[in-house]
Symmetry: C2
Subunit: 459 residues, 2 copies
Amino acid sequence: MAQKPSIPKGTRDFSPNEVERREYIIDIIKNRFQLYGFMPIETPSFENSETLLGKYGEEGDRLIFKILNNGEFLNKVPESDLVTKDESVITSQISDRALRYDLTVPFARYVVQHQNDIAFPFKRYQVQNVWRADRPQKGRFREFTQCDADVVGSDSLLQEVEFIKLFDDVYTDLGLKGCTIKINNRKVLAGIAEMMGAADKLIDFTVALDKLDKIGADAVKKEMLEKGIEAAAIEKLQPVFELSGDFEQKVAQMKKLLSQSEIGLQGITELETIKEKLAPLEMKMTHLDLDITLARGLNYYTGCIFEVAAPDGVSMGSISGGGRYDDLTGIFGMKDMSGVGISFGLDRIYLVLEELGLFPDSVKAGVQALFINFGETEASYCMEWMFRFRESGIKTELYPEPGKMKKQMTYADKNSIPYVILAGENEIKTGKLTLKHMKTGLQESLSPEDLLAKINTTF
Amino acid sequence: MAQKPSIPKGTRDFSPNEVERREYIIDIIKNRFQLYGFMPIETPSFENSETLLGKYGEEGDRLIFKILNNGEFLNKVPESDLVTKDESVITSQISDRALRYDLTVPFARYVVQHQNDIAFPFKRYQVQNVWRADRPQKGRFREFTQCDADVVGSDSLLQEVEFIKLFDDVYTDLGLKGCTIKINNRKVLAGIAEMMGAADKLIDFTVALDKLDKIGADAVKKEMLEKGIEAAAIEKLQPVFELSGDFEQKVAQMKKLLSQSEIGLQGITELETIKEKLAPLEMKMTHLDLDITLARGLNYYTGCIFEVAAPDGVSMGSISGGGRYDDLTGIFGMKDMSGVGISFGLDRIYLVLEELGLFPDSVKAGVQALFINFGETEASYCMEWMFRFRESGIKTELYPEPGKMKKQMTYADKNSIPYVILAGENEIKTGKLTLKHMKTGLQESLSPEDLLAKINTTF
C-alpha cells in the first residue's frame, strides 16, 4: 500500500516561505495593475478543446494538456480508428477539454462571450496558472503562473506608453534595478521582409531573426537560406545586423532602410510616437531599448511587441513580454477589436529576485509568538491570552502538547518564531507572563498587556 | 473559423466584481488561518495518478479528472486491450496524471515527501482549486476553491477546540450570523454500530445515518435493512433518532446508550472535553451543536468530525467541514501521524453571502478616477497628473481616445467610476482641474493637489 510519494515532472510544491514570496510579487503586480485601472477576471482552468486548439501553432497544440473524457470515453470511438493508434484522429474523440495554455486566448474568449456586459475599452488583469507539456528546464515549468494585463477595444498608442511605464513601476516596486524593456514592432519586421522581397516568408524570417541573440548572424542567415529565403535577399539584411546607437539613432537608420516600405515606416512612426510620449515620464529602474531583432513567437501580434530582459549577469530568458494584436477576438467571431497586453512571468521573476537576494526580510511566513505548554492548567491560562493576542493581530499559537521544554523550544527555533511566552505556576500566581526573545535569549517578566504592546510594536 | 464561444459545463468565468468578492472572503479566511499559526503551502494542480486514485472510494475515482499523456500515448497500449474498449484497463495506460480532487490527500503526500524539512506538529493552510467531474447543481461545480487548514503530528484535543473557534472567528469576520457548527465523533458512530451488533457494517451504517436530515428515519432504516443490517439491530437505533435537548443533555443520553462500548464512550469523552475547553471562549456568531447523525463521507476520518450549516432559511448544503484522521499519511508510508483539519467551501460561502446581501459595498473592483480625453495636448497634460494620482494610491485612468464626451461619460457610468476629471484648454491655462462627482453631478474647479487630497479622503 505504501508508495514513495513524488510529483509529476515540471511541477512543484511550494513551502510556506515560497508561497509568501510568490504572494509578495503577486501583490506588487496586482497593486500596480489596479492603480492603472485594470480589473480582475478569472477563467476556468480548462476550456473546451476547440477554444484552445489551433491558436498557438502546431507546436502549441502538441504542448496543450488534454483532459480525458469521463465515463465510457471509448464507447463512440470506431474500432477502425482505435487500431490505427493514430493520436491525431483519436485524441479529439476521447478528450473534449484541455488545460489553459496561456491567459490571452481565454481572455479573448471571455470578451466575445461577455461582450454585452462589457464597457469597452476593457482593461482586465488576470493572475492564474497555465500549463504546458514543455521539456522542463531552468525557469521553465509545466505549471506556472502568469500575471497578465490587457486592454481590448482601443488602438491608442497611449496604451503602449502606459504598459512600458507599468513595467517600470512594477520592477521598481520589486527593487529590481537594470532590466531592459526591449521594444519592437511587427510592422517594422513586415517592412524588413518586404524590403528583402521575402514578404511571403514573414514568419520563417521572424522566427530566424528572433534567434540572433542566441546563435549569431551567420546561423540566422543559414536558417533563412534553409527556409527558402534567397541569398540576395538575406544580404539586404546586413544593415539590420549592424544596427547600433541609442533608440533615436537606431530609428534614424531604420527609417532610411525602410524608406520604400509603407508598413515599415508606419511601424517606425509608432515607435517614435511611443518614445516621445514616454519622455516626460521618469523611468526609475528600467530602461527602454529598441531591438529590431525582437520577434516574439506568438503569431497573433501585429503591432508593438515588448520583452523585458533581466539585469545583466542574470542568466534567465525574458521575465515579461507582450504586444499588440489587432484581431485576437476575430477567431471567436468578433471583428475589429484591437488589443494590447503584457504578461509577467511570476516564476522567472521569483528566480531572479532570489538570485539577487532581493526579497525583503519581512516577507516570511509563520508564527510570531508561541506559548509554551506546561500542562493542562497552564494551557488553559495561556489559551485565553493566545486568543487576545490573535485579536490584536499577532500570529500566535500554543504548543499543543505539554511536552519536554527542549522539544517545544526546538519547534520555535525550527519555525523561526521570534517570541516564546512562558506561563508556569509562578506566572499564573502573579498574573504575569515571561517573554523570551529567541534571538538574544533574553527573558523578561511582564504583564500580559505590556507584553502584547511590546511585541506588537515589532511587527 | 468563427466559433460561438462557451466554457465547459460546471466551470465559470468570474467577472471583476466576482473576483473582488471571492478575494474578500479568501483574505478573511487567510488572515484567520495566519493568526492561528497556520502557514501556507501550495501543491501542483495535477498529481501522479497513483497519488490520488484509490483514496476517495470507487465513486471518487470515477470523478477524478484524468490527463491524457502527451505525444504518442497509444503507442504502448496492446491492440488486444484497445479493442475491448474497457476503460478500466486502458485509462491507466494512457493517463499518468490527474487533477487534484481535494487538498487533503496532496497535503498528506506533501508531508511525507518533505518530512525531513518539517518541524512537527505542522500547521498548514492551503487555498487552491480542486476539480471533480460531478453533476453540476446549485453550489456544486466542477472546478471550485477549497480553503483548508490542517495540523498534522498532534493528537491534542486543543486542536479541535481551536478549529471550532476558528470557524466562529471566520464567520464572524464575514458577518454571517447564525451558522451551526455540527460536531460528532466517528468513535461514537463506531460505538453505536457496536452496540447494534453491526460493527462490521460501520460504513454502510454511517452512510445511511448521514441521510437522516434529508430522507427521514423510516427511509434510513429501510436503507440499512437493504444493506443487510438486521431489523433487531436497527431497532436499537431508536434512541439515537429520538435524541433531544442541548449538547450536555444529548451527551448524557448517549453515555447511557453506549455504556457497554469502550470506543463509544471514548468518543463521548472527547466531545465532553472539547465542549469544556470551549466554555471560556466566547462564540460570537455561530453555535455548536452535537449531531450524532453527522457522519461525513470521507472514510479517512477517525475522531471528531465537523460540519457547518448555513443559517436557517438559506438552502445550501454544508459550507465548511472537517475532522480528525489518525492515519492519513499512512497511505504514503508514514505511520502514526494524527491529523485534524477543516475546509471552507469558498463557492458556497459566496452564494450564502450573496443571498443574504452580506458583501460590504466597499468590496468593488474598478477605477476610482477617470481623466476625460479632449485631444492630444490635453491628454499629455492629464497623463502627468494621472501618474501622480496613481502614486498616491488612487486607481486612475485616462480615456485612451479623444472621443465624444458622451461616450466617455457613458464609459465612466457603466464602470461605476465615482470621479471624472476634466482638463480642457481653460484648465490647462489656469493650472486647475475640473472634478465631476458622478453621483451628484456636481462639478468644481480645483488645483490638482486639492483635488487629489479631496478624493483621497473618500477611499
